[in-house]
Subunit: 225 residues, 2 copies
Amino acid sequence: MLSQASRQNVLPHPALTRVGHEFPKPVKPVRPVRQLLNPGDEIMLDDHAAQLRRVVEGCVVLYQLLPDGRRQITDIIGPGGLFGCQQEDRYNIGARSLTYTKIDLIDASSAPGLASGAALEALQRLRHHAMLLGRMTAAERTASALLELAQAFARRSTSQSGRKVTFTLYLTRGDLADWLGLTIETVSRTLNQFKRNGLIEYRHTGIVTITRPEALAAIAAGECK
Amino acid sequence: MLSQASRQNVLPHPALTRVGHEFPKPVKPVRPVRQLLNPGDEIMLDDHAAQLRRVVEGCVVLYQLLPDGRRQITDIIGPGGLFGCQQEDRYNIGARSLTYTKIDLIDASSAPGLASGAALEALQRLRHHAMLLGRMTAAERTASALLELAQAFARRSTSQSGRKVTFTLYLTRGDLADWLGLTIETVSRTLNQFKRNGLIEYRHTGIVTITRPEALAAIAAGECK
DNA sequence: CGCGAGGTTGACCTTTATCAAACTGTGTGG
DNA sequence: CCACACAGTTTGATAAAGGTCAACCTCGCG
């Protein structure tokens, strides 16, 4: 499914070129094992040794599948985020990289509080997301999603003028749909409506600018009409 | 909001009558602090000392509110279940008892692994619930909910004939709706359709019998039509 | 007996899904 | 370099699931 070897040439991970620079210098603390992933790579969650993982760069999504193929993305992890399937899931859980991604493997035993702290944060995020999935409209979900993604993937804005935020949108419309419990078409329509109303800007999907964060926040909070 | 003192007379907790029996005998291990709650009681999640709680008897729901009052129930805790707001939530999180409920307060520091284990389990449950909210139909959600509740609140069946399960349904239609991301009316219609089709039985809401668990499971798994 | 909370049912309507077609941008091979 | 294939996106027409509104029922309780 993920002919990684064959694509390695086609899609060389940019960071691979730096490996030569990184390995020589000996570091005092335990060097974490680092994984380099290409877009679309499946991440094995074997959970040997209760591995915890930190996204150093890039974007990872966690998802679950229904027997008939329906997919629900349950979390999106950006730089600095922790994840890991800390116990046998009786549900079909998967993780996948959406771009060129660097991940550090962390030995959970070496950082006792880290894993449980990460679990609690994930729980909080997921509770909020349950609220979104169960009780918000398409516009509210989309606005909320944009603000969350901007938070996690914001680019250093060249001009700090205004409170505009620009971020890299690693998710396709399909990913957004599977995250927000909507269809591709509804996501596309909602996004374009936001664009037409001047709340956001984008030319090529992949880089989005939030031009009116307050307005988006108001929509996300259900204060529209 | 929860004039508990004034309702104490009106709705005396059945277990209160036994308090006299329980206090006298000295117990060797640390006696857990026990709370007795009436139906509808709000549970304070102050989180002083990172309290963890175990439901001994009864039913507790965790929920979140949107500014305009929309509610999403994010978890349902039955006997043996653990919960507790282990860290400041930036979202409005609440907990409420749905019946006469006994809760033990557990000092999290006395049971280090317990809290994180509970968090992980909650995370798993919630991931599944996110899938339910984002990707399942009303019938699938309702079937799934019935099976889950039967699991958590099953009564010792008098006759072990067949694989029927009878359980106490502590949730109102409104609670079910807020848990499943539906409306009261849709929950009512779906339940009655299940009843008409002979999948479940109930005379007075409050006690439900699942007469054809396999059929419900098939619906929950999306294998219908 | 009457009240109120919760439940059911029906008619109708809105939101969002579905289906279909066309468009865009990018990499591929002639 | 251009035609092509493709993956992803947009847009429109239509349909269905579920929401909304309203009436009525049921039961427990004062």
